[in-house]
Subunit: 265 residues, 2 copies
DNA sequence: GGGTATTTGTCCGTATGTATT
DNA sequence: AAATACATACGGACAAATACC
């Protein structure tokens, strides 16, 4: 057995997909048909399609069939700079997919505000004691109806006592929380540090992002620590992005403008 | 069947691992023992351990058993700034693992130089015609014996004709290729753009990085386009990093020094 | 080196459950 | 309700990798 049969079958199907014989969205032959075609058992065919699914090339739908995955058009976030996509607030509604032409609109839920105790990561990055209280503001975001990111911002509890009480209200701060903190507390953001990791999605994330339950699609977890003029962390924002639909850009020094076309299609 | 049995078994084992009953590196009971313990068939046990493997919690070794994975201590790369780890050149040697104390030494192979035709990505990012010739310099890197990254730099073919002929020699350019290009061609790097994506590893990558063959561990693919003083791309560097042992930092504006401790352990 | 025991990997056939059309 | 297609679960047989004697 140079290569096991299920792997050979998977490679054969992969070649068909990459060669264009099977187009994105198209249905593969059923397991029974493939079993007869390759002269293998149905379980072996299933091992092959499982491998293809692990490679992210097909997805299986009970009662329907096995389909070649359509690549999701990635959304590119520039970490060095301000976001340029307009943000609309309100409920994230998955059913409103395939909306208006080619414009991409970012929807965001209203913030869900909680008082929590700082875990290890939050304490370390905000430079406060683990277990001390923090304000957390959580939002879910979608682009054109596709769930895109889950974001949680953490602020030290002291900000409330010092007068920034809008932080614990569950609505959006239209002028931006950074400007609000500057007006109320005199804290000005002078820089931030992003720490980028990748891990497997947990159950909540897999559910919100409609990820396959086999743990195949992982997520970016980006920790953004914002620093004030004294070099003290004033906010920690943790954002989770599925890796199958998100990419990042970092610009350093003097580079040509971003624009359509910096990234190959 | 609220939850399928193999999933319940997987959750039970997961709880044991997260609860500390099973420690990293420790061997699980054999499939036969687990079969008797849970009153399931061996195939069902195998489905459960496959799920745990997809979650990245265990790994199976033929002829040995199933083991709780040890988390690899991640190596953090700062994208905005110069690398600080000393680079030693020579052969990457997997067998020299577990070396000298806590210092981390980055080994790099000598460059493997080829003349290639630019693919779609390379052409687009270097702003040259797809199919035109480019110089590629490929290196593999390891830290403390663990394979860490695969890097390929692409330069326009014209650089050779204009006098930068050391680019096609298969040895390291000690002063750095950027300084070399400045001395020979007068091209000075004024900035760069990093484009960060995540995808599943291909066969070559899975082999070099010792990744499990099930497609679970994905890789970062970072495209760094360097621009000269005229705003023209002068180099494209594509680096592939396994996501299970690599993290990235991006600093923007005025932030406190990097150092041990910016990242939670 | 060879032989054996142990453990996971591959492959088969079958039966039944669940989701979708 | 019926048909279709994938999902779960079982039991068995043999292969391949590893460790140990």
């Amino acid at each position: 057995m140079a290569n096991p049969m299920y792997r050979q079958i998977a490679e054969d199907l992969r070649a068909q997909i990459e060669g264009g014989d099977l187009e994105p969205g198209q249905q593969l032959r059923t397991e029974i048909e493939l079993r007869d075609h390759y002269g293998a058992s149905r379980n072996t065919i299933r091992d092959a399609t499982k491998l293809l699914a692990a490679w992210g090339m097909v997805e299986t739908r009970p009662g329907q069939g096995t389909f070649v995955v359509r690549k999701i058009e990635p959304y590119v976030t520039t970490l060095t700079g301000s976001p340029k996509v307009p943000i609309l607030y309100g409920e994230v509604d998955d059913s409103a997919a395939g909306a208006t032409g080619s414009e991409r609109i970012l929807y965001s839920t209203d913030p869900q505000v909680e008082i929590q105790k700082a875990g290890a990561s939050v304490g370390k990055l905000l430079e406060i004691a683990e277990g001390s209280q923090v304000i957390s503001r959580h939002q879910k975001r979608a682009i054109d109806g596709t769930p895109w990111s889950m974001q949680t911002s953490f602020y030290p509890m002291g900000f409330i006592l010092k007068g920034a009480d809008r932080l614990i209200q569950a609505d959006d701060i239209a002028i931006g929380t950074m400007k609000y903190l500057e007006q109320t507390l005199g804290l000005k953001q002078v820089g931030y540090r992003d720490w980028i990791t990748v891990r497997t999605a947990d159950g909540t994330e897999a559910s919100f992002f409609n990820l396959p339950p086999d743990g195949r699609v992982s997520v970016f977890e980006v920790f953004r620590t914002a620093y004030d003029q004294t070099g003290t962390p004033m906010r920690l924002t943790v954002t989770v992005y599925p890796t199958d639909r998100n990419e990042f850009i970092v610009n350093v020094g003097d580079v040509p403008d971003d624009g359509a076309g910096v990234v190959p299609a």
